[in-house]
């Protein structure tokens, strides 16, 4: 094994040193596979209150992997079950952040591991009266169960994002409840806490997500 990796290392060095000037620069940065936990996405109004949905979105930046309050350095943002992307225009709801990047999203169907590439997907941006990730039960990423009142991420729905600065990432939402309980109880578990796995490719324009 050792021998093989030394050989591989040598070959790589050789390959790099032999590459000509047309090559796309340095060795690509490794794809990052991470998990974000308990991202709180509060909202006011909606859900039978008779009032319009409002409140600030919680913004997330794939590059740093953390929640941010920056008006520009964000890729996606959460408010309740709604997810906005930093691309396109405001949809027209109250308190939406201004879109100043070029982010977009697509919903792929498959296991998280099997979505290895962003190639061939149709990316959409937020637009007037329409979020790129459709809102409502069974339209986008979640299902609302009338029997249990539980919001669960639809299994097999993988959200693929183009970030504000043309990187790619895939996201699988695992839970909408605080500390991601296996069997959420809407009467005791706090909702609007996102836990998701994501894979971020820091290389510009590289659609590989594996």
């Amino acid at each position: 094994m050792k021998k093989l990796s030394i050989l591989f290392f040598t070959l790589t060095i050789l390959f790099i040193s032999c590459s000509d000037d047309d090559d796309n620069g340095p060795n690509p940065d490794p794809v990052q596979s991470k998990q974000a936990s308990n991202i709180f996405a509060p909202q006011s109004g909606g859900q039978g209150t008779g009032q319009e949905v409002s409140g600030d979105f919680t913004k997330f930046d794939f590059k740093t992997g953390i929640v941010t309050t920056s008006d520009t350095e964000w890729d996606i943002a959460f408010r309740g079950t709604t997810i906005a992307v930093n691309g396109g225009t405001v949809t027209g709801t109250t308190d939406e952040p201004t879109r100043n990047g070029d982010a977009a999203s697509a919903i792929a169907t498959g296991t998280f591991a099997n979505i290895t590439n962003a190639e061939g997907l149709t990316f959409k941006q937020d637009a007037n009266a329409s979020f790129a990730i459709p809102t409502g039960s069974d339209n986008g990423w979640y299902n609302y169960n009338f029997m249990t009142n539980v919001i669960s991420p639809i299994p097999g729905k993988v959200l693929v994002f183009k970030t504000r600065d043309n990187r790619y990432a895939k996201v699988e939402i695992l839970s909408y409840y605080k500390d991601a309980p296996t069997t959420p109880d809407p009467t005791s578990d706090e909702a609007r806490y996102y836990t998701f796995s994501y894979v971020y490719n820091p290389n510009e324009g590289d659609k590989n997500l594996n």
Binding site: G48, V53, T111, N143
Partner: protein, 696 residues
């Protein structure tokens, strides 16, 4: 009540004195019972064992000896018949895996109305005055039209036979202060006959979950009254008329957001039925039938101290029908039955803009003959023209071949349909707690535009064209193939069935609201099938002892979901590792509320020397799913355990002793093993009961 009882006794003794001299020993009923005759399968009298269709007959003896008092209780003891609540929470009957909305409930051949989200609550019906219950499985729209998609259940009430006044009165007391009082009278004097029946049933209800405020089943009381008249004008012309009235009241307390509300629920169901029978000659007779029924409910929620009305909802539905039927017997034994009718229905309810009505006309014809010796064939077709949906043509064909004296083979196929109901066409409902809206198909465009104008809509997700074509009737084609074997001690039957449903109506999202919720309307899309087999074995080694065993194997699937699974489009999350995996066919458990296995075994024993009969009935249901919990829209192995009802057995036992000739004392226990499950609110724990019956 007391006063009525004494008045009745007085009446009884006078009538008894007057007519006792005219009494004839007319115990001809006994001989008739040997040849079990059913009427529902063909709308003609047919011997049960000769029918080419799967039919279950429940006799008065069985009802009486098992001590069951409501229709749901006796039906759920039959093979392949289950009572279960669907996603709406309302309970109804299921046969061959087909839900209550597709099963027609008839009383003396005319339909009963009054459904909640499509479910007919058959516990509304007392069995105190029933002669027999006939259950025809498989599509029966060729005779009965809409709703008879999965079959029909026809309740045949008792008719007067004797010149001497006869009847019974009984009182039954059971756990949860269940009280059932019956009074029945009947008499036939020459051409004139009457029956009178009254029932009062009440209970204090029960609570399966003391941790939740309020009871699982609230105290209730209900009354059923039925009067019938028969009169022969001549040998050729006779009349039958029946009026039935049912009333139920439930007073309960509800808690919402810490506030206490009083709820008053009232339910009224009444009908009147008039039928003339004209015998033109030996071979030809015609029936003229008029029927009207009304179903009415009201619910009011009032805040206890303030008197504020939280909600009020009313429901008022009516149906009127005129039908003419003719039956002609050919010399070769063939019978031609035909009919034509006009039906008018209306509904007015909260969540409807205004009263809506439907009308329909129909015509049907059926020919029943022996093609060759030992081969009986029934062919029929019905045409329905309806004001709200496209015309329906419902054919049916059934064959029965007698291989030997003991063995016969049957096969049948038929088409069944169910018209879109009032709710699916005219509902305008917004859930005040969650904020979603459901619109009936016919009013969807108009109501959606109103919501748009009110600024409640974020976007409309379908084009208006998609709401242009009328909603289609749900329909199904059913096949039944079976064998029957009958000998002195054995009576066995096996039947394979398959029902292919098309155009099932379900909700879909038509728009999204600003509050994050959806606007739903109805659409035709689901294609499902139910298939399986039913096995019934009756063994009577000696005259006094009988064992009945039954089993139903059932598979029910949504065809689109199966296709999606095959294409690897449906996923689940492994709960331990939280990783997503693709669902396989073997993980898909099928439609909700369907058990793969249902079985029963019943023992009946007569102790002649002690004038006593005893019976024990055991009923088994395998595990079934109630709802999806992992968001993939199907019931699968990865759904949470809470969303399933695990396999269970209920046992019922009853013993009846006859004494002093006219008295019966019955004691028994229903649900002997005290099985309860929080997911089955209609199943109380063990119920002990005792009944005293006096017949005259």
């Amino acid at each position: 009540m007391n006063r009525v009882f004494w008045a009745f006794l007085l009446l009884k003794s006078t009538l008894y004195g007057q007519y006792s001299t005219l009494e004839k020993d007319s115990d001809s009923i006994a001989t008739q019972n040997l040849e079990e005759v059913v009427i529902s399968a063909t709308r003609t009298e047919r011997q049960l064992s000769s029918l080419p269709l799967p039919v279950t007959l429940i006799s008065k003896d069985q009802i009486r000896n098992t001590g069951r008092i409501r229709l749901d209780e006796i039906l759920q003891e039959q093979t392949g018949i289950i009572t279960v609540a669907d996603e709406s929470g309302f309970e109804g009957v299921q046969m061959q895996g087909i839900g209550s909305e597709y099963i027609m409930i008839l009383i003396d051949g005319v339909p009963l109305i009054g459904r909640s989200s499509g479910n007919f609550d058959i516990s509304r019906l007392t069995v105190g005055n029933i002669k027999q219950i006939e259950v025809v499985k498989g599509p029966s729209s060729s005779l009965y039209g809409s709703e008879a998609l999965g079959g029909v259940i026809n309740i045949i009430t008792e008719k007067p036979k004797k010149e001497k006044i006869s009847g019974n009165t009984s009182y039954r007391l059971g756990s949860y202060t269940q009280q059932d009082v019956n009074l029945s009278l009947k008499q036939k004097i020459k051409g004139f006959g009457y029956t009178l029946f009254a029932n009062r049933f009440s209970s204090e209800g029960y609570d399966l979950n003391p941790n939740i405020e309020g009871q699982t089943v609230d105290p209730f009381e209900n009354y059923t009254v039925n009067g019938q008249l028969h009169y022969d004008f001549s040998d050729k012309l006779s009349v039958f008329s029946s009026s039935r009235f049912y009333y139920q009241a439930i007073d309960s307390e509800l808690f919402s957001d810490g506030l206490k509300y009083k709820s008053n629920d009232e339910e009224i169901d009444w009908n009147t039925h008039l039928r003339f029978n004209h015998k033109w000659n030996e071979n030809l007779h015609t029936e003229y039938e008029f029927y009207f029924t009304n179903y009415n409910t009201s619910q009011k929620l009032v805040n206890e101290p303030t008197g504020n009305v939280l909600s009020e909802s009313d429901f008022d539905q009516g149906l009127a029908r005129l039908e003419i039927r003719t039956n002609y017997k050919f010399k070769n034994g063939g019978q031609l039955t035909s009919g034509a009718g006009y039906q008018y229905e209306y509904v007015d309810r909260t969540s409807f803009d205004q009263e809506v009505d439907f009308s329909s006309q129909y015509i049907y014809i059926q020919y029943d003959t022996n093609l060759i010796q030992n081969l009986n064939a029934i062919g029929g077709v019905r045409f329905d023209n309806h004001s709200e949906y496209s015309n329906q043509l419902s054919p049916k064909l059934a064959l029965r071949y007698e291989v030997t004296d003991n063995l016969a083979a049957k096969a049948s196929f038929g088409y069944g349909f169910k018209a879109p109901d009032f709710r699916q066409l005219y509902l305008d409902f917004t859930n005040s707690a969650v904020g979603y809206t459901v619109l009936g198909y016919n009013v969807a465009v108009e109501k959606l535009n109103e919501l748009v104008q009110q600024g409640q809509i974020l976007d409309v997700v379908i084009s208006e064209d998609e709401l242009q074509n009328p909603l289609e009737a749900e329909n199904s084609i059913g096949y039944n193939v079976g064998l029957t074997y009958k000998s002195k001690k054995w009576n066995t039957e096996i039947n394979f069935f398959r029902n292919d449903f098309k155009n099932l109506i379900d909700t879909r999202i038509i728009a999204r609201k600003n509050n994050g919720q959806n606007v739903f309307s109805y659409q035709n899309f689901d294609e499902v099938f139910t298939t399986g087999l039913e096995l019934n074995i009756q063994y009577k080694p000696i005259n006094r002892f009988q064992i009945n065993a039954g089993y139903q194997l059932l598979y029910t699937y949504d065809k689109q979901k199966l296709d999606m699974i095959d294409q690897g489009q449906i996923f689940a999350r492994e709960p331990q590792t939280n990783t997503t995996i693709a669902i396989e066919r073997s993980d898909y458990l099928g439609l909700v509320n369907r058990s793969r296995h249902n079985a029963n075994i019943k023992f009946f024993y007569d102790i002649k020397s002690a004038n006593t009969n005893i019976n024990l009935r055991l009923l088994y249901r395998s595990k079934y799913g109630l709802f999806d919990t992992n968001g993939n829209g199907i019931i699968d192995d990865y759904d949470l355990p809470d969303s399933f009802v695990n396999a269970f057995v209920t046992a019922n036992i009853a013993a009846t002793k006859n004494f002093c000739k006219n008295f019966d004392l019955q004691i028994g226990a229903n649900n002997l093993f005290d099985f309860t499950d929080g997911n089955i609110p209609t199943q109380p724990g063990i119920q002990l009961f005792a009944r005293l019956n006096y017949k005259f």
